[in-house]
């Protein structure tokens, strides 16, 4: 077992049941099945023997016991009564307790008593004694050496008692030496010794089969686990490759677009025939703006990469949320059309504080507000920070914008997933890094992020952050953005 485990790949679930325990379980089940089958066999055998006893009592006994004139002899009644008793009890126990050791013992005793009855009915015919040996052979079907003990005792006692008090019944003679009973018992013991050995060998073989089967089962189970593990690994790897491809395409797009513009504008300025045009001055300024945009894009990409790899540097301090919220809001103020959109901010209680990275929390709020501004044409954008119990704060950004499409909601927080393959009517303005950055910040502050959206009615983003953390939390790669569409 230990050897088998040492070869197992990490991550594969090792079968919980020990091999020996499973082998024992298989062995017991096999043994029980054999006991039940043999119980059934003896039940039918005893019924047949009972019928045979009645037939013998009616046909053979009158001649064997009373001469040549057949009459209804008391043996017929004896066969009916004694045979009935000898058969009924084993049949009853087989029906009620199949497979039990006591059932086997009662059957063994019943079978030996049936032999005694048949010997009696045939007036002690020597040939009928073979019924005992046949019955012992049948009892060996149980593969349980213990059943021979009650059987042998019954045979020995029956022969000893009847040999002394009723020898004609057992040997067909009027007198018999006590040694004769002893000899019969000795032959029974002689056969039993071989049958017992055979039972013990059969049981050992059954145990070997059970162990072999348990080992096979365990190998199969491990193989299945190995396949499952490999499939999961493959799926994970394939997902990682897809995500990487998506990120690379996103980076490519975010870098190529401003670079292409810069290239064209710089070429324009360099051409002597264009240099004096009024557009040239405008392009110098635009080149600067594009370089800034490019630089921001590169920084955002690097920030996401650092957050995902746990390499970000955080500057932990006590943060006044009212101050951070108003700073973030003042940036948003410059972006919205105040005639159509009202910006609201509420911090409850007003002196609410938390421990964390102030610049990061402000950046997160700015990102969330920026998204809200992009997707709200009119109505309200409300920023709200409240205490959520003693050790957390909840920050909400609610807008009355267009809501978030399902295809965006499914990939929230994945870098560049926003517009991966989405063009035309599916295209959403933005780089697709804002929520990925927010997710990294939320992870460091031991929080969670959830989005509720209603098409055409607005979006509500709820961020819960721990306020009592002394240090940033390690990166939680499993952290997702919970998305819920409401009507």
């Amino acid at each position: 077992m230990a050897e088998a485990c040492s070869r197992i790949e990490p991550g594969i679930r090792i079968p919980h049941q020990p091999l020996s325990e499973r082998a024992d379980e298989i062995f017991r089940a096999h043994e029980y099945r054999i006991h039940c089958q043999t119980d059934q066999l003896f039940m039918y055998l005893l019924i047949v023997e009972y019928a045979a006893a009645i037939v013998i009592a009616c046909t053979i006994s009158p001649y064997a016991w009373a001469g040549l004139v057949p009459t209804v002899h008391p043996h017929v009644y004896a066969a009916l009564l004694v045979g009935g008793l000898v058969t009924c009890l084993p049949v009853y126990v087989v029906r009620c307790w199949p497979g039990a050791f006591s059932t086997r013992c009662i059957i063994a005793i019943g079978q030996m008593l049936m032999s005694a009855l048949l010997i009696h009915l045939s007036a002690g015919r020597l040939e009928t004694h073979f019924h005992i040996f046949g019955s012992l052979a049948f009892l060996s079907f149980y593969r349980d050496w213990r059943v021979f003990i009650p059987a042998t005792i019954v045979v020995a006692v029956d022969h000893a008692v009847r040999g002394v008090y009723f020898p004609y019944s057992v040997y067909g003679v009027l007198t018999a030496s006590p040694w004769r009973s002893l000899e019969h018992s000795a032959w029974v013991i002689f056969e039993n010794l071989f049958l017992m050995r055979s039972c013990l060998l059969s049981v050992a073989e059954m145990r070997e089969i059970a162990e072999h089967r348990a080992r096979l089962e365990q190998s199969n189970e491990l193989a299945v686990e190995q396949v499952k593990y490999e499939r999961a690994q493959k799926k994970e790897l394939s997902g990682a490759v897809d995500a990487l491809g998506q990120v690379l395409r996103g980076i490519g797009h975010q870098l190529r677009t401003p670079l292409a513009s810069i290239r064209l504008m710089s070429e324009f300025i360099q051409r002597p025939e264009y240099r004096d045009s009024s557009d040239a001055d405008e392009f110098v300024k635009t080149i600067h703006d594009e370089v800034v945009r490019l630089s921001d894009n590169v920084n955002d990409v690097l920030d996401v990469a650092q957050m995902n790899s746990g390499l970000s540097r955080w500057h932990w301090s006590e943060i006044e949320l009212s101050s951070v919220c108003s700073e973030a809001l003042s940036e948003a103020n410059q972006r919205v059309d105040h005639e159509k959109i009202r910006l609201e901010c509420a911090v409850e209680p007003p002196d609410l504080t938390m421990k964390g990275d102030k610049a990061a929390v402000k950046r997160m709020l700015a990102n969330l507000l920026s998204n809200a501004c992009k997707h709200t044409r009119e109505g309200t954008i409300a920023l709200r920070a409240i205490a959520a119990g003693a050790d957390a704060v909840q920050i909400e950004v609610n807008d009355t914008g267009e809501g978030m499409p399902v295809h965006v909601g499914q990939h929230l927080g994945q870098p560049f997933a926003l517009n991966a393959g989405n063009v035309g009517s599916m295209h959403i303005p933005g780089k697709g890094l804002g929520l990925a950055i927010c997710k990294g910040i939320v992870s460091a502050h031991g929080g969670a992020i959830a989005v509720e959206t209603a098409q055409g009615k607005g979006t509500s983003i709820k961020v819960t952050l721990r306020r009592d953390l002394e240090n940033p939390q390690p990166v939680d790669k499993m952290l997702g953005v919970e998305y819920r569409e409401i009507s």
Partner: protein
């Protein structure tokens, strides 16, 4: 004077191309998405369309399909421009009949002007 329609959602890309083509003596009109491009094309009947692929509202490939469905615009040469080298888009655009396909980061202003001269004339 030959008429050129530039369709791109990025102003900083659209502007130098438009200025350069104007300096070269072309009559230039601009659109920032597929829907605007179709309206503009119907109005100005361009001799060449420079068409971006990834745009909001209506993407370049859908716009190309609509142009080809329009009996008056179906023969207008179209040069596709994109920031992404996506073979699926190239194949899709190729089946609709495009005059050229250019990666934004791999062409120069001089090269673009030459290509425009080739397909639209002077």
């Amino acid at each position: 004077m030959k008429r050129i329609l530039i369709v791109d959602d990025t102003l900083s890309f659209r502007a130098p191309v438009a200025s350069a083509l104007r300096m070269e003596g072309y009559q230039v009109s601009c659109a920032s998405n597929g829907v605007e491009a179709l309206e503009m094309a119907a109005r100005t009947k361009p001799d060449l369309v420079l068409l971006d692929v990834a745009m909001p509202q209506m993407d370049g490939v859908s716009c190309l399909e609509k142009l080809r469905e329009n009996s008056q615009l179906k023969d207008v040469p179209v040069i596709m421009l994109t920031a992404m080298a996506d073979s699926d888009i190239v194949m899709k655009a190729a089946t609709k009949g495009v005059a050229g396909y250019l990666l934004k980061s791999q062409f120069s202003l001089t090269g673009l002007i030459e290509l425009v001269r080739k397909h639209a004339g002077r």
